[in-house]
Amino acid sequence: MEQGGFFFQALVYLAAAVIAVPVAKKLGLGSVLGYLIAGIIIGPFLFGFIGEEGQDVMHFAEFGVVMMLFLVGLELQPSMIWKLRKSIFGLGGFQTGITAAIIMGIAIIMGFAWQTGMAIGLTFALSSTAIVIQSLNEKGLMKTEAGQNAFSVLLFQDIAVIPILAILPYLAIKGLVPETADAAHHATTWVDGWPIWGKSLLTLGVISTIVFAGKYLISPAFRLIAKADLRELFTIAALLLVISTAALMTMIGLSPALGTFVAGVVLAQSEYRHELETDIEPFKGLLLGLFFIAVGASIDFHLIAESPKIIFGLVAILITVKFVVLFVIGYFFKMGLDKNLIFSFSLAQGGEFAFVLLSFATSNSILSSDVANPLIAVVAISMALTPLLMLFNEKLIQPRFGTKESVKEADEMQEDKKVIIAGFGRYGSTIGRFLQTNGVYATYLDIDPDNVDLLRKFGLKVFYGDASRHDLLNAAGAAEADLLIIAVDDPEKTKEIVAVVKKHYPKLKMIVRSQSFFGAYSLIEQGADRIQLEFLDSALRMGTDALCNLGHRRHESFRASKTYRKNVEKFIPELSEVWQDRSLLISEAKKRMQFLEKSMLQEKEDFHKEKDIGWDASDIIKEFGEDKI
């Protein structure tokens, strides 16, 4: 593509998105539908800004899906899968199996061979992870029971693609002329002509390689990159990781999305998880938008115009079958009606994997392309209808039942961590361990790759990342967290974090470590909820120790240190009002220290001023007895 052409293309896509998406959001249609409409408008059937190269864009934009699955994989904690096992394997398994079987039956009734029917059934059983997650997130339904169940089903489907891709070659029909697959990810690969068992072995080998590399090679590599301390280098490395995985998968003729999904799952345990998530996220958003535009542009209106009845009939069948199956399963899994409606409507479409599987099936001579092409249109239309279906449910069906699903507190899908600790050196890690002994498991962030590595060797789940970046805080779960503990060494960094949190998460409570009185004053000014002076407690313990060594009673010394600490903690917010004015601050602080000294000394000497007068009998002796000692 020549330069001008490229710029013009970019201009068209970006302009379409910039215009269509805000309009769609304003109309309450959601961004996905906005992108799809933008795609239809600029596509070959309306304005024709983009024509055949829409296909190329589609392949490029499928990268958005690839990245999305990488991120979905990153989010997967074994503990979460275990918690959701019932809904993933129950809901997901039944949905995929039953839907595939019914659609296969329909295809056979229509006169297709059973192999073709099975391929279509398996393809149509999958829903669109991209559209559903995006839409549910936008509506804030992701954390609800319906959202979680939808997520579980999608997860099962994403995993199910692996065996489906492995099964498909066995369904090849003799006599069906294989198409030369022009799809980018099935461009002739160097495994063509291998026997099937060889391909299967190779697939297993490659997946194992990804798992092994992710476990043992990636972390040291990223550590080196993190030490270079260049943010963009990390981003480049993150992209390289995703792209190289995708390229490897493409080379052996497998779906790149799957490879990155596996890579994501492997790296979900890594200390670089939050950092990777943060770096890939913007690319994902951009490319996913592009992907939706491409889906819109690729809807073959000529084909639809030629045989609208067939196409829309198939769309209706697809959506109806999927909806009914989901609804019945939801009912058996005891979902409430309103939740079940959200769940069923959101998943009742074909998925982006269908495009992959259909072209894979044509190149493996299971389907002919004059069957596959209308099916691609059907999937695209069903995807485009999803936001409309959800809207239809929201505006027309849901209100009739009058119950709105509320967001459940701290439920299955949320990690059971509600605390984030930024800075995990000797100070932060002491806090972390203390909290752990009390059953509170926080998310730990630290910026020093060596320290992260060391602590991980001790079995602590520390993540690498800079807590003054709001996107990274977001990846660490700041939006859901109850408490942020800031325990970093660097006072400037501390201020930065407080400012970022105040700006982006005004509701998040902060307990902040301060290295000095002045630091404490300015942090209070910035709006930190609670300040802990890092030296106060241990210095007072040392002072108490000194008093005891001088022969003072231990209990008295200990109580004196508590009185002192209480007073200091009371002074700090008072003095933070005047700290900018150095001379005023000095005089105010002096006044308070003198008062404290006086009152505490007086207590020691003068029983009448003593607050522990209840433990002193001199007054009582005066009234009721005679002082004979």
Binding site: I613, W615, D619, I620, E623
Partner: protein, 197 residues
């Protein structure tokens, strides 16, 4: 209307079964202040002035606590030692508590029958509470019989809820001054006023 201050002391409240139910929601009732001492003073560093102001602002003081070793948990003893100062609570200068009411709300593992001369605990609850009764006398307060939940080791939820109902009735009665104090004075337990009419 009389104002009630409940000084609640339970050092392991997170493990409490019965007291948790007994105090639940009391804070929301008009005229009642629930003051959880272990929550207010985690280091036993009682703020004497603020405690005295609190007592001054109420007409009825309740010590609500599990009956540890025939007495109170440590913080309530500390509270007595430090807050009830000579010259404030008693002595010829100390008139701040004069005429106020005081009594105890207790939870005890043993059954009521165990608290008598022939029983397992040799003394009655009233005998064991004599230091508190005398504290009230010295401070010129009116001492009322205790409200006791016995047999906490084998109590049923049904029984706990019945006690809670009585407790609420008792608090409302004291607050609205509908309780016959002469009748109450002859009772061994506050419970009996409601259960043995």
């Amino acid at each position: 209307m009389k104002k009630i201050l409940i000084l609640f002391a339970h050092p392991a409240f997170q493990k409490s079964r019965i007291n948790k139910i007994l105090i639940q929601g009391l804070d929301d009732i008009e005229g009642i202040t629930l003051h959880d001492l272990y929550q207010a003073y985690p280091e036993m560093d009682i703020d004497i002035e603020s405690e005295q102001r609190l007592v001054d602002a109420h007409d009825i003081v309740i010590f609500h606590h599990p009956f540890y070793w025939y007495s109170t948990p440590a913080i309530l003893k500390e509270w007595q030692d430090l807050v009830l100062k000579h010259g404030w609570a008693y002595g010829h200068e100390g008139k701040n508590l004069k005429g106020k009411f005081i009594f105890q709300v207790l939870t005890a593992g043993g059954e009521r029958m165990a608290y008598c001369q022939q029983g397992y605990n040799k003394f009655t609850i009233r005998q064991l509470l004599s230091p508190f009764e005398q504290m009230a006398n010295l401070c010129k307060m009116n001492y009322l019989p205790p409200f006791v939940v016995h047999g906490t080791h084998s109590i049923t939820m049904q029984e706990v809820l019945e006690h809670k109902t009585t407790y609420l009735e008792l608090l409302a009665g004291l607050r609205d001054e509908t309780i016959n104090l002469d009748d109450l004075a002859n009772r061994e337990y506050f419970n009996d006023y409601f259960t043995q009419k």
